[in-house]
């Protein structure tokens, strides 16, 4: 297998790596490669920080291992190679009435990446996390190819949300969910402030429920936004608009605080005061930003951070405090999301807990780190946790404190990968494989 020298980064582009990448195109080539040169497996690099980076080392690009392997229409169990993207599964299966049970905000995420981060979606309150719908998977590690099912409790739980440290995820069997068709009916309504927001999130009975939040709003408007509630359905709508791409890095002023404020105010008023229901292609609802390829370049060449935390339901004051800090800092971008999570999680290092999750993009400019540290402090104080798929700035002590099952994960990882062959930049930065 030929290796290619490459400079690459996660989606946030604030952290970068240079190293050698191989890209096998068949499972036999992958097995041969891992037997010879075990290295972390990476997908479409949609995690934001350094979970998908191995600076000065090797990594295996899984994106050409993207075959459908089997589907049982009786049980809804779909078997696929791990480099297949969730958007591709959606595109092929939704017209036949099946959907991945959990879809994150981008369809470019691969099945392997979705497992390694135990991702959640707009239906987390009802459906739980991605890993809860994984029936089996094949790992390739020091023991060779290993089939893992939820019955192998410790290894399964160390793999779901396990940052790829138990071995390369080669294939997986996913229990799909029934859907009525490949359109969604979305009801959008304006929400005037945080209290109203939390109230609506608590009361929502929709299958899919998520809210955009205007992270620049202050005072009486703090926490205003647009709540989206959706159900899948059958019908005919115009096809999804063709995708555009951002060809160059935007200059720094493109997302200056004045521009973001204006944009957000207009975006808020896009939805009429009385709300509205719209019908869209399924991918437009689940993956709204995928139509703009390389949208991360809007943040310029220094990239950006995404801060995402979850805090318990009772900690609404922590949310208010975080939103105040963000709007006062003038560093927010238009992209900010608030959602209520259920308790569902599949692994020791899974992010979800029952509570409210807040995600905000913050351009990588002076002061961004300080702001994110403050937000982390508030999260920790509230007994919440931050999401490792988004993290690029946290610390060893903080992560260990926020993930109470860390020790169980570490013990299992030490067995599955005794030589640390699958360690990534994130693992080293956060000292997650250190034995002390």
């Amino acid at each position: 297998m030929r290796w290619k020298s490459a400079d690459y980064s996660g989606w946030g582009r604030a952290l970068r790596a240079s190293g050698e990448l191989a890209r096998p195109e068949s499972r036999s080539a992958l097995a041969a490669l891992l037997a010879d040169t075990p290295a972390p497996a990476i997908g479409n690099r949609r995690s934001y920080g350094d979970a998908c980076l191995n600076n000065d080392g090797k990594a295996i690009d899984m994106t050409r291992l993207d075959r459908f392997l089997d589907f049982n229409p009786e049980t809804g169990v779909l078997s696929v190679e791990a480099g297949l993207s969730l958007g591709e599964i959606t595109r092929i299966m939704a017209p036949r009435g099946w959907l991945p049970a959990v879809l994150p905000g981008t369809g470019f995420a691969t099945v392997g990446g979705a497992i390694a981060h135990d991702v959640h979606g707009k239906n987390h309150h009802g459906a739980g996390s991605f890993g809860q719908h994984v029936q089996a998977l094949t790992l390739i590690n020091a023991q060779g190819a290993v089939r893992v099912t939820p019955g192998d409790e410790a290894l399964f739980k160390a793999t779901m949300g396990g940052l790829g440290q138990t071995g390369a995820i080669a294939s997986a069997e996913l229990k799909l969910a029934r859907c009525k068709g490949d359109i969604v009916t979305v009801t959008e309504r304006r929400v005037e402030n945080l209290d109203e927001y939390l109230d609506l999130l608590d009361k929502s009975e929709a299958t899919y429920c998520v809210g955009w939040i205007d992270a620049t709003a202050r005072g009486a408007n703090l926490g205003r936004g647009i709540l989206e509630e959706a159900e899948t359905g059958a019908g005919l709508v115009p096809p999804a608009k063709s995708s555009k791409s951002i060809p160059v890095d935007a200059p720094g002023f493109a997302l200056s605080s004045a521009v973001v404020k204006l944009f957000n105010a207009a975006y808020f008023r896009r939805v009429p005061a009385r709300g509205r229901s719209v019908v869209k292609p399924i991918s437009d609802f689940f993956f709204p930003l995928d139509r703009i390829h390389d949208w991360n370049r809007l943040y310029g060449k220094r990239g950006f951070h995404q801060f995402q935390c979850v805090v318990p339901l009772a900690e609404t004051e922590a949310l208010r405090e975080m939103l105040s800090r963000i709007s006062d800092s003038g560093r927010a971008s238009p992209l900010a999301v608030l959602k209520r999570m259920g308790p569902g999680r599949a692994g020791y290092m899974s992010f979800p807990m029952e509570g409210y999750t807040l995600a905000v993009d913050i351009p990588n400019r002076d002061g961004a780190e300080r702001l994110i540290k403050q937000l982390e402090d508030i999260t920790a104080e509230a007994q919440g946790r931050i999401y490792l798929a988004k993290d690029s700035l946290s610390s060893r002590e903080r992560v260990r404190a926020m993930y109470p099952e860390y020790e169980l994960w570490a013990a299992e990882v030490a067995k599955a990968d005794p030589d640390g062959a699958f360690a990534t930049d994130m693992i080293r930065r956060l000292g997650l494989r250190d034995t002390a």
Binding site: K4, A22, F71
Partner: protein
Amino acid sequence: MSDTWIILGATSSMARSFIRDLAAQGDGLLLAGRNMAELESLAQDCKLRGATMAEPLAFDARDPSCFAAIIERAAQDTGTLNAAVFVGSMPDQSEIDADPALVDGTVTDSFTGPARFLQMLAPVLEDRGAGIVVGVGSVAGDRGRIGNYVYGAAKAGFATYLSGLRNRLGRSGVHVMTVKPGPVDTAMTWGLGAMPFMTSPDAVSRDILKGIRKKRNVVYTAGIWRLVMLVIRTIPEPIFKKMSI
């Protein structure tokens, strides 16, 4: 009624994207190549993506004895029969310079093997009075260059063959389209360093499908290569022979 496609060299990165697009249209697929395990896995992938039929078939450009079985199998299906040829091999020119015997295999894989196959298939297509033949050549065939002139010569031969086949089959309502890709991001080019105007297998497939819809004769992909090769072809030989591009 969906079409049936014979795909030669079905496991190549470029073929795989094209085959998947055909599968999504609900076409039937006869997937021919050397690695049967890979072909079976590909056939299964295609069926799950919507192909009405997908069968693996053994094909080796260097073994003409396997050709007839494929054509017989294809002739069993009524309806429109099409063929797409993705076979070819590109040993490093320096390896060929060191071992001139490699010329034969390169020419067989990229030109004479597929040409002989198409020659056998032509009467079947003429009988049906319809169908499409897609032949994948290369921009390397447009001018012999120091870096890969044996591969280029084989692809040039194949392109000339396709032009003649187009001339013949066009009279029976069969359309022959020549595809000339520039560098494509495949296993073959992975790690060979930066290449100009590189495109992806998915984009090549889109260009082929668009070319078929528009009944184009020769398609360059990425499209810019039509212009680039026009310029390269017009460089006078006395100057070109001193260049290393």
